[in-house]
């Protein structure tokens, strides 16, 4: 990394006592201006199928969920940068602010084949891919924007090994990550019946748009929008089509698409209006302005979902970390050190991130509230240290002690919960404080976000 890069970053760090998110990417690995956006309180709502049915995440799903949040399954430098599946697929959805200068043409995606993450697969091309949502992914084969891989499991292994340079994962781990992703449901949409037709909850414009959506156009080979986006089949046809955007790409579902902008494989269009304009222009459909706005209203109705976002809370985080502790317990029992190390590393790091949401006394937002914040920080640190005790005991073959230490961790977590909740109103879990904090950080980082990334050798922009 050049001196210039160090200067831009450290100015931001030194200008005030702000807690910067640790996993905004390791500044010595990723270029300045990298945005992971993980400090946001608001996050997509994730529905896991078995939980929604009143069950729980199986141990296999919990293992996959945990690995999904772990940089350790990737190779360097993705691992060192703290990148995880979850970074891009936030709560199984998308991450519209994700941006790595030099790798991303626009926020919300990146060229997944690149010289930074895996030199072996580098082809001298730069192809920005928009991050897809994983909601309903089990129904949406084939996989990849070009649909080149039929199996979600094979695709997942490819992402880990070839795109992000990870070591060959154990078959169980790939099973687990796949099982987790297969749990992610589409958000319910009261405007749609089970066959994909609009209900009475949809407004008249949307209903006019529905008729247009199903109307065949000679200019499109006597097909309709619905010919590929089958309303009764989650708005996909499991096929690839060349619609003039630079190759054949698979049909995307329109469900929950209100929350997955931008659109097309490379995220070239920010709005449904632009998408409709593209089809109108490309196929010379002769749509009127009213037609277009009706189609947009229809897409918005189909793309809607109940409670698309929710606020992250220490409660949710603790619950999740306790779920992650189940595969840890199983791994201790099975003396499976690779999973023990993976689980402890993941949970402990998330706990450090939780700790950082309780600002210290040098942070302007935390300075006056240390009576509440410090116990929360202290409890989180105690949990981190306790997890490392689990790991340390297991590594030395003292599995009974590791198990006892894990039990103690769970009790400690229960005791920490009210301490975290007491500090929540003065923490960065409070959306207003978090927004103020982000604004302060942004004010201090104009240099970092404006800096020009180093060009990738041989790269060329998308057509």
């Amino acid at each position: 990394m050049s001196r210039g890069v160090q200067l831009t970053l450290s100015c931001a760090l030194l200008c005030a006592g702000l807690a910067l998110p640790a996993r905004a990417g390791d500044p010595t690995v990723l270029p300045p201006g990298t945005v992971f956006g993980e400090e946001s309180v608001r996050q997509p709502r994730e529905i896991l199928h078995d939980e929604a049915d009143g069950g729980r995440q199986s141990d296999l799903v919990a293992l996959g969920n945990m690995a999904f949040s772990s940089p350790q399954i990737f190779g360097d430098p993705a691992r060192k940068a703290g990148l995880t599946c979850e970074t891009c697929h936030n709560q199984g959805d998308v991450n519209p602010v994700f941006f790595i200068p030099g790798l991303s043409d626009r926020p919300g995606g990146l060229a997944v084949v690149n010289a930074l993450f895996n030199t072996q697969t580098t082809n001298g091309l730069h192809r920005h891919i928009d991050i897809p949502s994983l909601r309903g992914i089990r129904y949406l084969a084939p996989y990849g924007r070009d649909g080149r891989i039929a199996s979600l499991r094979d695709f997942t292994r490819n992402v880990i090994v070839n795109e992000f340079g990870g070591a060959e994962p154990s078959p169980k781990l790939v099973d687990a990550i796949t099982a987790y992703m297969e749990q992610i449901d589409v958000l319910p949409n009261p405007k749609l019946k089970s066959d994909g037709q609009l209900t009475d909850a949809a407004d008249p414009a949307a209903r006019r748009g529905e008729r247009l959506f199903n109307r065949t156009f000679p200019q499109m080979g006597s097909q309709s929008c619905a010919s590929c986006h089958h309303p009764s089949a989650l708005f996909v046809d499991h096929l690839q089509h060349d619609i003039g955007t630079g190759g054949a790409f698979k049909t995307q579902t329109l469900l929950n698409a209100d929350f997955t902008a931008p659109y097309f494989h490379d995220g070239r269009y920010a709005t449904f209006g632009q998408v409709v304009d593209y089809f109108d222009g490309t196929y010379k459909l002769g749509l009127t302005q009213a037609d277009k706005s009706d189609l947009v209203a229809y897409l918005q109705a189909v793309g809607d979902g109940e409670q698309p976002f929710e606020n992250n809370t220490p409660d949710r985080e603790l619950d999740e970390l306790l779920v992650f502790s189940r595969p840890l317990e199983r791994a201790i029992g099975e003396h499976d050190m690779s999973v023990v190390d993976l689980a402890v590393g993941t949970i402990a790091h998330e706990m450090r991130e939780l700790q950082e949401r309780f600002p210290g006394p040098s942070d302007p937002l935390g300075a006056g509230e240390q009576a509440l914040l410090r116990p929360a920080r202290s409890a989180a640190a105690g949990l981190v240290i306790q997890l490392r005790r689990v790991q340390s005991a297991a590594q030395e073959g003292r599995y009974d002690e590791a198990m006892a230490a894990l039990k103690a961790f769970r009790s400690q977590a229960d005791a920490a919960r009210p301490v975290f909740l007491a500090a929540l109103p003065v923490s960065l879990y409070d959306p207003t404080l978090a927004a103020q904090h982000q604004a302060l950080v942004a004010e201090l980082t104009p240099l970092a976000t404006q800096s020009t990334p180093p060009a990738t050798a041989g790269s060329k922009p998308n057509p």
């Binding site: 390791d26 790091h349 410090r374």
Partner: protein, 302 residues
């Protein structure tokens, strides 16, 4: 690195110890609590020395053992004096170099002065207001890092006034340090806190990113941890529980190995996080072996 002012430290320590007292089912105020409260009552929160957390005998603490630990802490203090002396001498040298317009000399003296300070972070939490003035981070207005921002930035005016202030503060630190005893418990909390802090410093680009000496900071932190452990605790903990002593020493060596690389970008942040946290846990285990309650290592509030 110091990340906060003394008043907040004291209030926080009180809240934490209140929690401990409550969770132990006892309504008696611990010595720390009483100390912090009286400090607060007398309005001397910005006092240069704050011995909160220094002496905290556990219920089962053997007085003879504690005396032995305090004696060892005094021996450590003698060794640490060399680091403080080096801090002072190099700070003086930095000021003189700046006055002579010798930028290269001032930069080298800054780096040398920090070495002594970073090794001393075991006990600088004992002097919160001084630590805050000397090493507040991240903050470009005062102390080492305020000077760093100007001294290492090409073309910036030399920070003479800031350096004069720093020189005054390190001389005060030397005087106060020489006049104050170090206790075993304080040294142990210092070791654990510094270990825990090492686990997160890399992920943020290091403490001294402008001068490019963050890696040196980490190496000197490990020096400080090792010196304090070997001088105060190694033998006494080994006599109590050789397994715990082995673990602490193995983990110190592992942490050292992880920061013994050519440049900051070669530090494996996740491995360092793991080993540093394990070390903090083992140091906490050592405290329990010695009869102290499991200590609180949350002085790492950035």
């Amino acid at each position: 690195m110091q990340r906060g002012s003394s008043s907040e430290f004291v209030i926080g320590a009180r809240a934490a110890s209140l929690m401990l007292a409550v969770s132990a089912g006892s309504l008696l105020l611990s010595p720390i609590t009483a100390n912090a409260q009286s400090t607060a009552r007398h309005g001397i929160l910005l006092a240069e020395s704050n011995s909160a957390g220094e002496r905290q005998p556990g219920k089962g603490m053997d007085p003879a053992l504690e005396a032995k630990l305090d004696e060892a802490a005094a021996a450590y203090k003698k060794l640490a004096t060399a680091d403080i002396d080096s801090l002072v001498a190099n700070s003086d040298k930095m000021l003189a170099a700046m006055q002579a317009g010798d930028v290269a000399g001032a930069r080298q003296a800054w780096i040398d002065a920090r070495a002594g300070y970073e090794r001393s972070e075991i006990f600088t939490i004992k002097f919160p207001s001084l630590d805050s003035a000397i090493d507040f981070w991240p903050n470009s207005e005062t102390g080492f890092h305020g000077i760093e921002a100007k001294l290492f930035a090409p073309g910036a005016p030399l920070p003479l006034a800031e350096t004069q202030t720093l020189v005054d503060k390190v001389h005060t630190l030397q005087r106060v340090f020489n006049g104050e005893p170090l206790y075993g418990h304080g040294v142990l909390v210092g070791i654990g806190s510094l270990a825990f802090e090492l686990g997160e410093s890399k992920a943020k680009g290091g403490e001294s990113a402008i001068s490019g000496t963050s890696l040196l900071d980490m190496q000197h932190n490990v020096d400080g941890i090792e010196l304090a452990w070997n001088t105060v605790f190694a033998k006494i903990v080994r006599d109590k529980n050789a397994g715990v002593a082995d673990r602490v020493e193995k983990e110190i060596a592992e942490v050292r190995q992880l920061v013994s690389v050519a440049s900051l970008d070669q530090v494996d942040a996740q491995a360092l996080e793991q080993k540093a946290e394990m070390l903090a846990g083992s140091v906490s285990d050592a405290a329990v072996e010695l009869g102290w309650p499991a200590p609180d290592f949350t002085d790492t509030d950035d």
